[in-house]
Subunit: 315 residues, 2 copies
């Protein structure tokens, strides 16, 4: 049994090709070769804990991820979110690795899902990337988009100048080619960008539409029944509505709101893994408006944990 | 964050008073001050994984236990069952300890529950202890009964002479005062013992009754909807039927069979924590027949993990 600390995990991550690994996870999920039980939840006075777990038939490991959010932690000088993953051998149940990643692998697998979505759904010519939010995911999404999108023109929306300034400084450090403009007006971002990623924990819609033809939106922030970043009319008018998990998006995220408001019907939702495997269409036209809703599926955790502990990551 | 290996866990266990700690866990459970979500389950080709987790209001930690059973493991020279526990601070969600106990703490907390049940339900004068089964729990139950029952006369039932011989040798090593007789006939055990503990994974009843007046039976083996060690008539005729968790026993274990067969009604079942706290009667008469069904509740895991990582265990 091995215990991997965050620094070692980061070193190993650099050596693996994580996008195709997570693509295979989504394909397994949508083709029914993944065994993903419902998310376990523990509600506590000062925080909440989610347990995501499961197995992919072709993978040597099953993975259990424990992620927590304790929103009073910053006052104590601690990060609000934390997490770790445990990987066990599927043949014997033996504990193979404990990944003390402090939630970093969740940040990465979420950003990678955004990049995968962009690969299949972004317009051929991205004129400008719009990032809604200035937190960790706002940084991570942009960072992973680099490998699938050539565009380096960015507009970022945030709630304060200080946060926006810090964001610009951080992402130009990630890639000096980024040219980042800031705005406090999300409508401006929506007018100027045709690949938009929303990354906030908003509970009332930020993006109202209508969107420019040819726009793709990936909604990353909303992963509970309460959170909501997109006005349901955006999903209603979209040519393609994609979910990482149809089952999960019925209950959580943007799609759940649009379904409850009867703005879309469930048979319109396409699952990401079916697009990746070629069993469903992604974007078929440069003028289409597409929306993807990512709520996070355990196959992503299984694939990123398996990649980090693979021989390849040691090379 | 600390990682505790099995040997260290065993050393610490010796220093804590685990029976009252687990009693407090059952009381918290029955009084509604424990937050115990449904058990998570992952069914794999070669095994099964259970995730038991939750929090007790008064406890500093929430605990997540991962336990697995891979029944082909012995052919590979590996134990069939394995497990570990993770303890997190309830105030901040920080991972406090990883207990790599390989399932030992589950064995102990299960045996301790048997001792607690005996404390409240065994007849005042135990003439002979009957142990049904020859596995790890058959040893552990007898070991922990020592602290609550004076009797050292034992009859053990097993399926083979070799297993019985090994059992006798092992338990007389635990306590040389034990005088252990063996039998291949469970009816003989049932006639001669008035405190019986069943510890097998049987799926058809082993114990058929009728039992001698004044007998107490603790059924430990059955923790799934399929497993069954007691003929439902035993529960039907019992003066008192006790469950570690009424909710869980409706779905798993001996009580679930008796309910399905309409041999008992759910309002007859008394929860262990209510007996410990004095809100319900245990045994009130030396001639009563009492039955307790233990399916295992996360409060036991929380309490034993918390005890092992407590200051007291370091003393």
């Amino acid at each position: 049994m091995q215990i991997l600390e965050l620094e070692e995990i980061k070193r190993r991550l650099e050596k693996v090709d994580i996008i195709p690994a997570i693509e295979r996870g989504f394909v397994a999920y949508s083709s029914g070769t993944a065994n993903i039980p419902p998310v376990g939840e523990l509600q506590l006075d000062k925080g909440e804990v989610h347990i995501k777990y499961g197995a992919i038939e072709a993978s040597p490991y099953y993975v259990i991820k424990i992620a927590s959010g304790f929103y009073g932690n910053p006052e104590l000088g601690l990060p609000s979110s934390d997490g770790c993953m445990l990987a066990f051998c599927q043949e014997t149940g033996q504990l193979k690795s404990i990944l003390l990643d402090k939630g970093h692998l969740t940040d990465v697998r979420t950003a990678v899902a955004g990049a995968i979505v962009a690969k299949y759904l972004a317009p051929r010519r991205v004129s400008r990337i719009g990032i809604v939010g200035t937190g960790i995911q706002a940084r991570a999404q942009l960072s992973y988009l680099r490998s699938v999108v050539d565009c380096r023109e960015v507009v970022v929306w945030g709630r304060s100048h200080s946060r926006l300034d810090r964001y610009v400084s951080d992402v130009t450090e990630i890639d000096p080619d980024f040219r980042v403009e800031t705005t406090l007006d999300v409508a401006e971002l929506q007018e100027r960008c045709n690949l938009i990623v929303t990354t906030t924990p908003a509970t009332t819609p930020l993006l109202h539409g209508p969107l420019r033809p040819g726009t793709h939106v990936t909604a990353v922030g909303s992963d509970t029944p309460e959170k909501q970043e997109l006005d349901p009319s955006i999903l209603q008018r979209a040519d393609r509505v994609v979910a990482d998990s149809v089952e999960q998006c019925r209950l959580r995220g943007e799609i759940s709101h649009a379904l409850r408001d009867r703005r879309i019907q469930v048979d319109r939702i396409v699952e990401l893994g079916r697009i990746i495997s070629g069993h469903a269409d992604g974007r078929t036209d440069d003028d289409q408006i597409t929306v993807a809703d990512l709520t996070g599926v355990a196959v992503q955790d299984i694939q990123i944990a398996s990649a980090v502990i693979s021989e390849r990551a040691l090379a």
